[in-house]
Subunit: 294 residues, 4 copies
């Protein structure tokens, strides 16, 4: 059993680290705010004082942060992951970041004699809690084969999609559908409601129809009762949409539904709803339909 | 066990009639082209020479036709369903038609002393074959309760959504997501492919992710191998989108993703792809991305 | 000088009839509400008791009504224009209606031995008042040549675009840009305003830039001061957009900007702004941007 | 008469410098490729060996480059404009760049004791040649007043829109309409053409209608005869659209027509048309409509 490291112990990263601990792995962790990692230390995790210290102490270091800037912050500088890497070590980043940035980072890791994988997840906290989180993985196939058993301790499936950076491309390509599906769902729901069908009934029908993806199954009911705390807020969703739209321009793929949907996320911000779960895109459309007063 | 009638024995209607026969119901049927109903007569169905004759002979008459015009054709005139209805009889239309037309028809049915339900289905031939077809039902609740056991002989779920016409509204509200999901899926797929991921791999990842609705699970693989015969072609899909967009204007609900997607169905027609399954919307985007030559 | 008839003396039709009177023509007119034609009778117009009477009395009969239904109402029936037409007579409809309806009407006119032109206008009341209204004309070229001098008494230009019905197609093809330009203008204006530029300054810059069409020159300032009475309200604009979108589906031309804009007109209705000039599309976007409270 | 400098003597910059020379100003210029400035040296311009040398030699230095990166290249470093600025000097950048970058640059200029204006132009080479180029200007009003007479030697109007950076915001807010108008024009044109109207006729009607902005007047005819050399190619147009979309996200303004149009520019790239004038967006839609084979 390898000695594992984990940098970035937020809502998602923390839960993944816990699963690794529960599977019997020794885990050394670091988080910018130590207090948020208290429950993991109680569960047997070893603390390290910097990302560098994590990487130096471990065979395989994982990280999970919120965006490209945060990834650059934990990997660069004298206390960063890169400073702790060396020959034989493996670094696996699970964050959703810009594909180009991930690819460039993998080159810096190789300069240290280490190997990198990008391994973003498909699913949310709910998916993880149900043991259904899956991984897309980019990087050399032999490194993938070595890390795969560890990923399967977290969720049921890890798919190798290609070279370094391609897994985050795949993630970005997947995530654009999240917001699009939520907006299309909202369109159908408001059509039904303004036709005279109760919102609860319409939600039930839609979520038992052929369009009911796992994402809609858990997020669709939010339109009846928004959660107090966002699972994935408007700003986070728009970050991912921005990565998709940027990638579309780079590789020359028009993104008609993603681009139209992104403007409704912008409207959510304009209407003061940026901090809510992105299911609030329903509220934007409800106001435009005269159903909600705002 | 009531004496059942069925008008419109095409790909979908015929299969539903067969399920009713298989469940032990006596079924009297009519189809414009008699030869297409041969297999049902062989399975024990009784033939009637007109929609009127079906309605006259049966307690509950079902119908399933392809659009509003066809519904008006089988119900009106001296040989239509209406001419055969009378007090105590029930008429259940399963077609996806304009909500206003369905509502007006239910009033004409009431004028005859009979009762009507609109009961469009959620799902396709594949869903039906798997025994997973569900029904949305509009009309009086007591009529719904009487018909419900028969519907449950076809599929696992029948939901009463409200008054006459509201079930087709609900159907239209559901179906708009079909085309939108297919286009968003295509956007993600082409992003992945032009980034360097194999199309097969990208399809596999997407169809194992949280966005994989039942519809995408069966239709998504079409982008790897288009079926020889369309399950639901561009023109049929655009008919449903047209009903949704018309309803949106009537009840004042903006439909951003539905409207942008509908223009890609129009493009499929412009590019000569109208007769193919609407999954061909992928091909439209592929040509715009320079991946396909046309 | 031919004996001219005019059916439909509303805001636009009335003003055109007045120009014909001012140019020295004898004009016989009919309007559903006679009181609204009082000022024209005072100016020398002769009254007729029905569209049929106008057509019977005149060599060339013009009409200008608000939509396809109104056109069918004034032309059909025992008191309609068709009933008054006969060999040698000419009928010129200036309304913006469905191209198919116009074409079918021209066939009915031909059945009477008369000839028809569709001659919709480009421009609004303001354009007309400035003597700048132009005509697009569909129908046989020899009929066009005979009517052209009369049209030039109203405005500076009349262009023959092709067969019967094609001028309304051309009109519909032109008008879709009106709403699109107004929405794009609103986007630019709100970008400027939320960046810190005064709305008045931004309007001035935009209306002195290369994007300032004649339409924007007169309608753009509405965002600073909405007119008490709509020149062309949301419902009228959406009627024209509907004709364009329907034509697009018929001839297989995707209409990306028209379709996205149409949903904002729907939003204007949902937000209770249907009766205002369609420049109110700015207000829809302003509310989505958090600039306006509604 | 002040001693003027000009950095960036490309198609647009060179012509503006020529106008300044023609108005009697002494102009010192620098261009990365000296040979392209030969005609200006022949016309009396003085050469300088670097942006720094221009700024050091002149009271007021102008620049006109193609994007934010180029602006940073000519202003930064030991040979950049900043290195040559000092107390009392004025620097006026006419480029269309990111508003934030322009604002940051103005702060660096102020650190040198100098003053900066952003003064992007409205119009193209054609507008300039007709003497109709206008300026939007951002920065302190007293600096604007001093520079204004020089700008009026180039074109008829210079409007102060606010603080540093706001003129490029205004420019970006204006330019999004260019591509949107061109796409809406293409939609109308193809609707007309596929209805049976000759393309030439449809162009003539549209360009004599109320939607005919100055931009459409000169660029619309490109659909009949694309220019050998792009005036403003797809990549340049998309750069400006990208700036607008980025600004929209920053200040929370949804940009529905701009975002949908931008995807058609991406399609132009996917279809291999990136180097053509952005009027080629017509060709994208023509292929989607089956009018053009590609």
């Amino acid at each position: 059993m390898a000695n594992l490291g984990f940098v970035g112990l937020g809502v998602m990263g923390g839960r993944i680290a816990k699963r690794l601990l529960d599977s019997g792995h020794a885990v050394t962790g670091y988080n910018r705010t130590r207090s948020k990692a208290r429950w993991l230390l109680d569960a047997g995790m070893t603390w390290a004082d910097s990302p560098k210290d994590v990487a130096r102490a471990c065979d395989v270091t994982f990280s999970m942060v919120s965006n490209t800037e945060a990834l650059l912050a934990i990997t660069g500088g004298e206390n960063g992951v890169l400073a702790g890497l060396g020959p034989g070590k493996i670094y696996v980043d699970m964050s959703t970041v810009g594909p180009a940035a991930s690819r460039e980072l993998s080159a810096l890791v190789a300069d240290k004699g280490a190997r990198m994988l990008d391994a973003p997840v498909s699913g949310s906290v709910a998916t993880l809690d149900q043991g259904q989180l899956t991984f897309m993985v980019g990087g050399d196939i032999d490194v993938f084969e070595r890390v795969k058993p560890i990923l399967l301790d977290v969720g049921p499936k890890a798919t190798h999609v290609g070279d370094n950076g391609l897994a985050v491309s795949m993630k970005v390509a997947t995530n654009l559908s999240l917001a699009v599906h939520m907006l299309a769902f909202s369109e159908g729901l408001l059509l039904a409601e303004k036709s005279g069908i109760k919102r609860e009934t319409a939600v039930e029908v839609l979520l038992n129809s052929v369009i009911a993806s796992p994402m809609l199954k858990y997020r669709g009911p939010f339109v009846l009762d928004m959660p107090d705390e966002a699972w994935f807020d408007v700003n986070m969703m728009q970050k991912d949409m921005g990565l998709a739209l940027e990638l579309g321009r780079q590789v020359d793929v028009p993104l008609p539904t993603a681009s139209v949907t992104n403007e409704y996320l912008t409207a959510a911000r304009g209407m003061g709803l940026a901090d809510q779960d992105f299911a609030v895109i329903f509220e934007v459309l409800a106001r435009m339909s005269g159903v909600s007063e705002g």
